[in-house]
Amino acid sequence: MAELVKTKDIKSGMVLAKPLLNRYNQTLLKAGTHIEKSHINLLKTWNIMAITVKENNEDEAPELNEEILSIAREKLAARLNWEPRNEMEEDLIEMGVMNYAKNMLGKGSE
């Protein structure tokens, strides 16, 4: 998950979680950029008050392993009575599986 950090609180080493866009939707910095103090001027120029950075433990986060995914798949299957007909429906189902899996890891929503 990502968190919003105010420009004044930025520390070197933080990693941009999403691409930074200006008000014209042009990309100023790509996602994954390692933020340095020098970027702060850029932010100030564009009057950007906060950026989205990856939380500290994000890179070391446990992978959604097969066991968890398989439990999640079963859980979802219990509420589904149809088979996917195409790639889109497969992706849709995968979304549900990932949601269950993430919740089980404590990273999810409510």
């Binding site: 998950m1 990502a2 919003l4 930074l20 866009l21 008000r23 009057n47 950007i48 008050m49 906060a50 950026i51 979802l76 509420r79 589904l80 009575n81 149809w82 007909r85 195409n86 790639e87 889109m88 429906e89 992706d91 849709l92 995968e94 979304m95 549900g96 990932m98 949601n99 993430k102 999810g108 929503s109 409510e110």
Partner: protein
Amino acid sequence: MADVEKLTQKVEEFPTLPTIYTALSEVMANPRSTIQDAVNIISQDQASASKILKAANSSVYGIRVNIDTITQAIFYIGFDEVKNLVLALSVIDIFNRDAKNQVLNPVGLWKHSIAVGVITRTLGKSLSIRHLENYFIAGILHDIGKLFFYRFMPEEYKKVIEYSQENSVSLREAEKTIIGITDTIAGELLAQKWRLPRNIINAISYHYSGLVDGKVDSLTSCVHLAEIISTMLELGDSGYDMILQPNAKLWDELKFDKNVFTNNLDQIITDYNESISLLLNI
């Protein structure tokens, strides 16, 4: 058993939308109006004004500049979005008065509705729809018919929900069986009373099939999909637990990117949490 006449009567007696919304609608329909006219109207309602500012600054609109005034809010997120936020807040307020004393608590259904709003908007964005203003609000209001039933026929509607669960049928089928009328009819009547735009009325009437006049309509179809997704992700409580299969026609007409659903999962959850906090004070 409800009948259309009784229902129409009850809808007639239901409150009208607050003046702030009708005043804003008039301002926007008048080509001579200025942003200042809209700002003046909104500023008179402190509660709405502060919510609009909060919304403009939330992650939902992705604006990275600090928005301090209503003028800025209108500038950055647009007139229509602001008007629709006022509409959403107004409708939620109307239904939530006295919520604790109601037999069927509408909060779960509101959370579901807001989730559908968030997801409809996300899907519209991913389709690069130009005019997104109605996507959020159409999703939020798609179930107002059910909310109406919760309010005016809670005992009967409880039976509808039970019937649906015990017999594994959709709520729509259960409604037809138990009360003889579907929530979309109630929703349509209410939307017409409030003179909501046609595309919102369509979303209310047709989100179940996702087709308007047998054809794929971007907005209605997105609401249809969003409904399925929000049930799947268990965001809020629609009274129905099974995950329905999307209408097959959608896939031919709506050109989604591969992996659009998995790619947007995190953003949807974030926006959902922000939106329920903003709109429901949770």
